[in-house]
């Protein structure tokens, strides 16, 4: 079965060790997590975790159910394939000389990125977007020499008016057995 990128969104108790519990379930199944982003949610004492992993749908569904059993995980959904707004933020520190500076500024402009720091021989650019956009910008800047890059990992939200706390879980799917 083909592996694909999955976006999991979890609402969890804001307590020590919660992330540890979650991540250890991925580790046990040998998942390599592409990115994980954590921050406060709209509810006090609850955090929102966005995890991006590669895996087959069945594997990811199994780990999702396992995560859902954690006492500190209040809700968890696999929102892959839904209409999403997904964003990531990256800071890129790129080498800049007087000869290249204007070209870099131009690229930043095209991507609607901001210059957040200027040093004698570098520029630091802040860019927000989906992974593809950040990857493209990264490629364009590569030739100038990249000193450092920091990416937050994706956060994502399903489009439309429904908040994640109001979402209901779908009943288990019936699977047809393959018989030998």
């Amino acid at each position: 079965m083909a592996t694909t990128k999955h976006t999991l969104v979890a609402i969890v108790n804001d307590k020590p060790g919660v992330l540890n519990r979650m991540v250890s379930l991925f580790r046990r199944r040998n998942f390599n997590i592409d990115s994980i982003a954590v921050g406060h949610s709209e509810v006090p004492h609850l955090s929102r975790v966005t995890v991006i992993v590669n895996g087959t749908t069945a594997m990811v569904e199994q780990v999702r159910k396992q995560l859902d059993k954690l006492i500190d995980v209040v809700k968890i959904f696999d929102i892959t394939g839904e209409k999403l707004t997904g964003r990531e933020l990256a800071l890129i520190k790129v080498k800049a000389t007087s000869a290249t500076r204007s070209e870099i500024l131009e690229i930043a402009d095209i991507f609607r990125a901001n210059i957040v720091d200027v040093a004698s021989d570098t520029l630091t650019i802040e860019i927000t977007g989906d992974e593809d956009k950040i990857d493209s910008m990264f490629k364009l800047l590569h030739g100038f020499g990249i000193r450092e890059i920091a990416r937050t990992g994706r956060v994502a939200m399903v489009r439309g008016s429904l908040g994640v706390m109001r979402r209901v879980e779908k009943p288990l799917k019936t699977r047809v057995r393959k018989q030998s």
Binding site: S24, D68, I71, R175
Partner: protein
């Protein structure tokens, strides 16, 4: 509760005498404490409690916690921890037991302040026993124990992330009922979930109403009466031939409170090849994990079966039952072959006769475990106590101890191997100090028998690291002030058991059994269930004479 003290638990033990309602039993090893709590929980259905001091005490609990986790046993493991200001500094006997046990606990707490202790304990017990039960660890720093706080016991629990499903989905219930009503060759496979849910009565009603034969998993033994005409025994690796044939041929499999462990499925792609599957379990993560279900039902087994009962028509499956009876005759299990030696199957059978099937039987892990499962007939939930998921040698003696403490009214028999017993033999002292009248039947074959059996069948009898010497168990028992006797002949079996039963207090029988007896039937690892091997008609044993005994 079962425990073992140490520096970090001193304040706890200091106050313990003020609570006369708590019985504390000092074990000889923390692993013993964990297994004893486990045995107690399985025998009573209540939460078992074990405790250990920080560092080595806590790590000694690990096997017992893992064992309880894999068999869904409600347990609280309380560990002492170094004082808060030492945590994270590699202080003396500081170990991150919460981190170590993360993957083998249902939940865990580091109790970092005294005011929230009451709520923590209430939550921990609730989580341990509700839903799919499991072990919960509470790590308690020493200075929190000596702190003062007002006792606030919360009325209600605040666990928004904890879901305990109750009733199954109505549509799926209907779908399931339709399949059951239409099936020609239905079969129920029942697991420990039935025992946990207390749903034996509901299971029996369903099986009888629709006339559906019942097979069980190893840990499901006892959930359906052993003598019932619809009981076809245990299936899987050492299951009965007829149970495995039933699996092969059924057109509908109703899996209740079980998780399709590889020991029962055999080769998964060839498992129950003709059957549609209804899977009823409390834990959604078990459904579709190993074997896909045509109808998944998430809910408490008892509640689901009750609801289902109303949708099921009274039915008869005479042809199917006749077919099963035919197989029962063709592949008899209780046939005990001729031998000059003392056969373990015979001993278990005699044990059943003598106790009239009314004992709680606790086992170690190995051949003796399988013989106990096969040849004793269990009528009640909780009467067969064994380590299934983890298969922990050394589980037997301490678990039997815990079972007897929980059910003093019942005869508790340990059926153990000479290898398994030696892993936790120190608990004999606990039996004596706390006067726990466990009766012990050691099936002594001078081998790590189950591993030897695999070497015999799949490694050309290359018996490496399986011949195992043992002390004179009777002398050992005697040193602990426990009575016992050694049995070498068939005719001594029954009198020895009678003597043990009449004896006041613990008693040990050392049965010198046929060293190279194998457990049959057996499904070879990786094979389909239907490829089970049966007892060969005549076994010639050359090893027997050179055996180390």
């Amino acid at each position: 509760m079962f425990g073992f003290p140490g520096g970090a638990l001193l304040p706890f033990y200091d106050t313990l005498p003020q609570y006369s309602q708590i019985r504390h039993i000092l074990t000889r090893h923390e692993q013993g404490a964990a297994h004893a709590a486990d045995g107690y929980a399985r025998a009573t259905g209540k939460v078992g409690v074990c405790m250990a001091t920080s560092g080595p005490g806590a790590t000694n609990l690990v096997t017992g916690i893992a064992n309880a986790y894999l068999d869904s046993v409600p347990m609280i493991a309380l560990t002492g921890q170094v004082a808060r200001h030492f945590i994270g500094k590699d202080a003396f006997q500081e170990i991150d037991i919460t981190g170590i046990t993360l993957p083998i606990t249902k939940h865990s707490y580091v109790a970092m302040d005294a005011p929230s202790l009451a709520a923590t304990f209430k939550e921990a017990f609730y989580i341990a026993r509700s839903g799919r039960p499991g072990p919960v660890l509470i790590d308690l720093p020493k200075d929190v124990m000596t702190d003062q706080a007002e006792f606030v016991y919360p009325e209600k629990l605040d666990l928004p992330g904890y879901k305990v499903p109750r009733q199954g989905h109505p549509t799926q219930l209907k779908n399931a009922a339709k399949l059951i009503n239409e099936a020609k060759q239905p079969l129920i496979v029942a697991g420990r979930g039935v025992i946990i849910s207390g749903a034996s009565e509901e299971l029996k009603e369903l099986a009888e109403k629709a006339q559906i034969p019942v097979i069980t998993t190893l840990l499901g033994i006892g959930c359906f009466p052993g003598g019932h005409i619809l009981n076809y025994g245990m299936a899987g690796m050492h299951g009965t031939g007829y149970a495995n044939k039933a699996l092969e041929n059924c057109d509908l499999l109703i899996a209740i409170g079980m998780r399709f462990d590889d020991r029962i499925t055999g080769k998964v792609s060839a498992f129950a090849p003709k059957a549609k599957i209804i899977h009823i379990d409390l834990d959604p993560a078990e459904i579709g994990k190993n074997v896909p279900a045509n109808v998944p039902i998430v809910g408490d087994v008892g509640a689901v079966l009750q609801a289902m009962q109303k949708l099921i028509e009274t039915n008869r499956h005479i042809d199917w039952i006749q077919q099963l009876e035919e197989w029962r005759k063709q592949h008899p299990l209780l046939d005990i072959h001729d031998s000059e030696g003392l056969l373990p199957q015979y001993i278990i059978h005699e044990l059943y006769e003598a106790t009239q099937g009314d004992a709680i039987v606790v086992t170690g892990v190995g051949q003796h475990q399988m013989w106990a499962a096969q040849h004793y007939t269990f009528h009640e939930p909780g009467s067969f106590i064994s380590s299934g998921g983890l298969g922990t040698m050394g589980f037997g003696l301490p678990a039997a101890m815990g079972a007897k403490v929980g059910r003093p009214d019942k005869a508790v028999w340990l059926v153990d191997g000479d290898g398994s017993l030696q892993m936790t033999i120190q608990e004999l002292a606990t039996l004596v100090q706390d006067n726990i009248a466990v009766k012990m039947a050691i099936l002594n074959n001078g081998f790590l028998g189950m591993v030897r059996q695999w070497q015999d069948l799949f490694y050309k009898k290359n018996y490496v690291a399986t011949p195992i010497s043992c002390p004179d168990f009777i002398k050992v028992a005697d040193a602990y002030r426990i009575s016992g006797l050694t049995v070498t002949k068939r005719e001594e079996v029954s009198p020895a058991i009678e003597q043990a039963m009449a004896h006041d207090g613990p008693f040990l029988i050392n049965f010198m059994i046929e060293p190279e007896e194998n457990v049959y039937p057996m499904v070879p690892p990786g094979a389909a269930n239907i490829e089970f091997i049966e007892q060969p008609k005549k076994e010639v044993s050359s090893w027997r004479r050179q055996s180390i005994r």
